[in-house]
Symmetry: C2
Subunit: 709 residues, 2 copies
């Protein structure tokens, strides 16, 4: 569909010149027509015969309305007829309306009668658009009437939306089934609806001054979709686009910052208890092998290293400067960092925007931009990059190398990440504090971790996304390669926001984050614990090759709860083929239940777990296993754990790798068994039937989003 940008530009220019904030209904229609958005057909007739001809051309029924600049209250003047069903009736109607109008106001100028196609039947839907401060232009879709108003059943996508995005919106509402036709009604024309969504999304992308838009209702029938009412709100003072360095610049600078060969510590100190002392200790004791330059105007040497008055006095190249000085000294030191051409500053100090010092933060942002210094923070704990043994932080050191990269906007949550990691012995590649996000934010980290070979999963806690659109674009690309998990805090606090349009009012909740993160392939964690557990388990699990999941359980009771969790996590239990059912039955007692879950019953020896799990791994129709272990004297926890690892490793040696997770029901010895299993590639959880399935579900969500299954 060709879009007539010139026509729209002309209308918008007029609106702007007239200082208006919204379009009239006829203007809205013209804009729609220019973008291939169907609106009811209409025409103005000056004679009865003309009216009948126009009506016949659009099909019946029609609505007739007097056209007269003097008659503002058409209905009162007897100037409106609805549901006119034939050419004959139209002719009569024309005459009636004209004579009514004359009677009503003899002096009124009568331009004729407007003939408008009357929309009947079909499903009422709403298509709209909003401008979000973080995500920019979004297109919205929902069912008209009470469903969208009362149940807030609406879905959003970044604009412009592809045809695929648009089609996914039709399935993205709770009442999606209605569009397929219920109670004997026809299904809607999905192509026509998706096409209209696409066109709306293109329109608002082409014309940023279109702030909000409502097509409400749109009548969707089996043959097409027509927007009965159009409302367009404009804003010619749109916010300027946010500055973004180029992809190459981000990658180059972030690599030097995150994997530096030389670190300067501004405010390094020998004095116990000082932040500058903690940072020095963490760098040295953490085993960092690059150069460490303490910067302190009043010291000669700190912890055995020569100290410098300024970074400018350091003879060699510096990749990153860690700031451990009070806020008020940051700006001056940052200028020196810029002059020394250091690409990154890690700003631990607080005392900026978070305490109301917005100006101070703006000042350092400007310095950073001027000198090309990327800023991490301020108001952060710093960061860790384990593969360089780098603890550029004043918190405790952390050294368990692994492949999960975590970040947090909040320092408290950062401490929880470190504590959980240490407690669970979770291997991480990096932990990063983002704090006030004056510059470096989640998408910079995604861009770095995307190409960082030590990282296979990225898990981020955030409270807001300063540039949601940039994040979504980067996440969409990165999540195709590596799972991206996000815990978005402040889900419930957004509240409704003031808006001129219907769609705008509905946007004031968490649904935009929900939909856009999904559109970007991001796995959304619902809780802090989920974020942490997903980061720990997802890299351990191989990628499943299909949707067929089998539960093998010693405890029938666990089997039932695990089945519940399978449904809750949008996974599906394999319908067991008869031959496979028979094969499982060979290994289990006659009263055990095959089918799925495979219930081997509680009193079985280790061999039964071994045989059934081996079968589950060997049969190519099965793609993932969930184990339900029941602690018994005959198969104690560590015996179970060791035999499971054996089978999995035996299969791995044959090239068979499938995700296996385990729920352990038993006395405290199961805790040790769970740890052993986890260490050997089987995420296992004591006293929980939910968590093993939740982490498997997260892996599946990613694999589906990345198009791997």
């Amino acid at each position: 569909m060709a879009h007539d940008k010139v026509a729209v530009r002309k209308i918008l220019d007029r609106i702007k010149s007239e200082g208006r904030a919204s379009l009239s209904a006829p203007e809205g229609k013209l804009v729609c027509e220019a973008y291939g958005i169907a609106v009811p057909k209409e025409g103005v007739a000056t004679t009865a015969a003309d009216a009948a001809k126009i009506a016949a051309g659009m099909g019946f029924p029609v609505v007739l309305k007097i056209v007269s600049p003097e008659i503002l209250h058409k209905t009162e003047a007897g100037g409106v007829l609805v549901g006119v069903k034939s050419a004959d009736e139209v002719q009569k109607g024309f005459d009636t309306i004209m004579s009514n109008a004359k009677k009503y106001d003899a002096k009124a100028k009568l331009h004729g009668v407007q003939v408008q196609h009357m929309l009947v039947g079909g499903q009422e839907v709403i298509i709209g658009a909003v401008t979000d401060p973080s995500f920019g232009k979004l297109v919205a879709f929902g069912l008209g009437g009470i469903l969208v108003e009362v149940l807030k059943d609406i879905t959003f996508r970044l604009a412009p939306a592809t045809r695929e995005d648009a089609l996914s919106m039709l399935d993205g509402i709770a009442a999606a089934e209605i569009l397929k036709g219920v109670r004997g009604t026809d299904p809607v024309n999905r192509d026509a609806l998706a096409g209209m969504i696409e066109n709306v999304s293109r329109l608002i992308s082409d014309f940023p001054e279109i702030a909000e838009m409502d097509l409400n209702p749109v009548f969707a029938t089996k043959s097409g979709a027509t927007a009965a009412d159009v409302r367009i709100v404009v804003d010619f003072n749109a916010a300027p686009a946010r500055y973004r360095p180029s992809h190459e610049d981000i990658v180059r600078d972030m690599n030097r910052i995150m994997k530096p060969d030389a670190v300067a510590v501004i405010g390094a100190s020998s004095e116990e208890g000082k932040i500058g002392n903690s940072v020095m200790k963490n760098l040295i004791n953490g085993g960092y092998q690059g150069e460490i330059y303490p910067i302190n105007p009043s010291a000669v040497e700190i912890m055995g290293r020569k100290a410098y008055k300024s970074v400018k006095d350091v003879p060699g190249k510096i990749d990153v400067a860690v700031f451990a000085i009070p806020a008020k000294f940051v700006a001056q030191a940052l200028i020196e960092v810029g002059e020394k051409k250091i690409p990154g500053a890690v700003l631990i100090p607080s005392g900026f925007a978070e305490t109301g010092n917005v100006e101070g933060q703006k000042q350092i942002q400007e310095i950073g931009r001027k000198y090309g210094v990327r800023l991490m923070g301020p108001n952060i704990y710093g960061f860790y990059y384990t593969w360089k043994n780098l603890c550029a932080t004043f918190c405790t050191a952390y050294n368990v190398k692994g492949h999960a990269a975590l970040s947090s906007q909040s320092g408290g949550i950062g401490m929880a990440i470190i504590g959980f990691s240490r407690s669970a012995k979770m291997g991480v590649s990096a932990i990063v504090g983002l704090g006030n996000k004056s510059d470096i934010d989640e998408d910079d980290l995604l861009t770095f971790f995307e190409q960082d070979d030590n990282t296979t999963i990225i898990a981020q806690h955030c409270e807001d996304l300063k540039d949601g659109r940039a994040f979504a674009e980067v996440a969409k690309r990165v999540s195709k390669k590596k799972p991206v998990v996000v815990l978005k805090a402040g889900r419930t606090a957004m509240g409704a926001r003031a808006a001129s349009s219907h769609t705008g009012a509905l946007a004031g909740n968490d649904k935009i984050y929900e939909d856009v993160l999904k559109q970007s392939g991001v796995i959304r964690a619902r809780s802090l614990r989920d974020l942490l557990e997903f980061a720990r388990a997802i890299p351990v699990l191989p990628t499943p090759k299909g949707e067929n999941i089998v539960i093998i359980t010693g405890a029938g009771g666990s089997g039932v709860l695990l089945s519940d969790a399978v449904v809750d996590n949008n996974l599906s239990l394999m319908a067991m083929p008869p031959d496979l059912d028979a094969a499982f039955r060979k290994f289990i007692p006659p009263f055990g239940a095959a089918g799925n879950p495979v219930d081997i019953t509680g009193a079985e020896p280790p061999k039964t777990y071994q045989n059934t799990v081996r079968l589950g791994l060997e049969d190519p129709r099965i793609h993932a296993l969930i184990l339900g272990y029941w602690h018994t004297i005959i198969t104690p926890p560590m015996v179970f754990a060791k035999i499971m690892v054996e089978v999995v490793e035996e299969m791995r040696a044959k090239g068979i790798e499938k995700p296996v997770v385990a729920s352990l029901a038993g006395d405290v010895e199961v805790e040790e068994a769970a740890e052993y299993l986890f260490d050997h590639g089987i995420p296992a959880y004591p006293y929980s039937t939910e968590m093993p399935v939740a982490v498997l579900g997260a892996k599946y969500k990613w694999a589906r989003g990345a198009g791997l299954i």
Copy 2:
């Protein structure tokens, strides 16, 4: 509203005698009228004048229909007119219909014309009834049309429902707001709707042969509610009521079983590895102080205790017999238990219904009933009652005394309970395995724990409720005194069931459990971990006296996540009064945020936590506190924990007791701090912002249900 039982009985008797399974529309109407359920007014006219008079009496518009036994297809015969709007039109319509009918079939006997009030406007709703195999008669309510069909937005209550139950149903659907009037429509008449729900629920309770019922649609307007269509399905072969001992009998027998003075072990053994040996060891080593009688025909003495061939040979009284013999010997031994007048048998052996031996299970049920022996199991691990140091089980012993009583239907879940309890040092009063539930079930346990002074909370895992109605009745009473938490497994496995009515088809999901458990005041756990954590934390928390919750946090990030959790758990943050806000501000840095959460910021000393928490406890307007701790050098975890306990104990000494929960963000030392806090009455969780709020939410749910706030 008087109910005319005689009229209904007469109609049902006729249906029965005619061998029919459902009522005709006119029969359905008569039944409705007998129970005060409004149906459209109607009458049969034999003259045009008569028709006009009848119509005027009911109000316009009306529907006119030919009445003739010969004319089956009324519309085809031109025998139906809808939307007739005046007395004049009715007269003309009468003539038209009669003449059309004559033309259509000259031989047809014409009885006249039926005049029926035509319902227009208002909100279409559905009121229905079903018979559930476990819960019996239930009444249902939902919105008509797509909402109930596509979104399954329907709610159930046990019948008969009180007025309060009925009113709660109007708020119990997702689209409840619609009933209050949206888009300028009038609100429905809540009393009329609730009255109709009550009447339906009374009708199906009075006549158990009414199996299913649909009033669909019911037109609900601001002035009343009228059922436009009635469908009633009957079943004269209803299942007989389940046998239930009297309350006194249950209490008397369960007290002897759960707190026995003398235990017999049938199948006691000296041989290591035998179940009968494990049971003996657990009894003796567990420190049980009552009599222990080993029963074994081929032993003289077992573990230092005189052995008997049969319980009948034991000289003294026995309160409970623990069975540790193969299934095939159980029946005979049970007869002897009966003859010895022992009130309870703990049937550890498997090999009954769960392995297909349904007959064997039926046999022992009959023996139990005959001799008045209550049966626990079969197919269980046994039970623990810590305050008697009683471990009547073959599993490992458990001895941490406390006030949570737990039970599980599954042995695997029982082992998880024991493992979790030991790991978390959770104090319990009892842990009970219910297994096949041939006799003793969840409501027997509720009845016992209700009057057991050592128990303050009851947490149950179940897969089904054999007598859901009995459970609901008991739970409703008990939950007023002690929190009842239920993990219902198999939530998602029920699927749709075959049903003749619309309501019946909608009942085939978990919604019935959801609604009835709520109606009974039960706190539903969503996961195994929730069941366990609720059991652990709820008894520790004092009962809140109101809904005003305040978050006090060192980490702003935790504050945001805790606020999310508050909303998720249906709790509410107190709107901070200005004077209280000012009082908090005195203790926190100028850039800290008062309001709620109270953000004291991260770098504060222990004193700040102490001052703000003391204020939160002292101010009578605040009813509960959620603490967000951030691990810093200035306030290390154990320092925080000790100072918090100090403040709480200081207040307790002054008679101030409020629920306080804590989320701890920090390095691994927070685990020890969490344990210390929990031990001192402050449920605390490391690395989780969700769990502390979830347990507080569970306590609130109970307190609200019990009418305490």
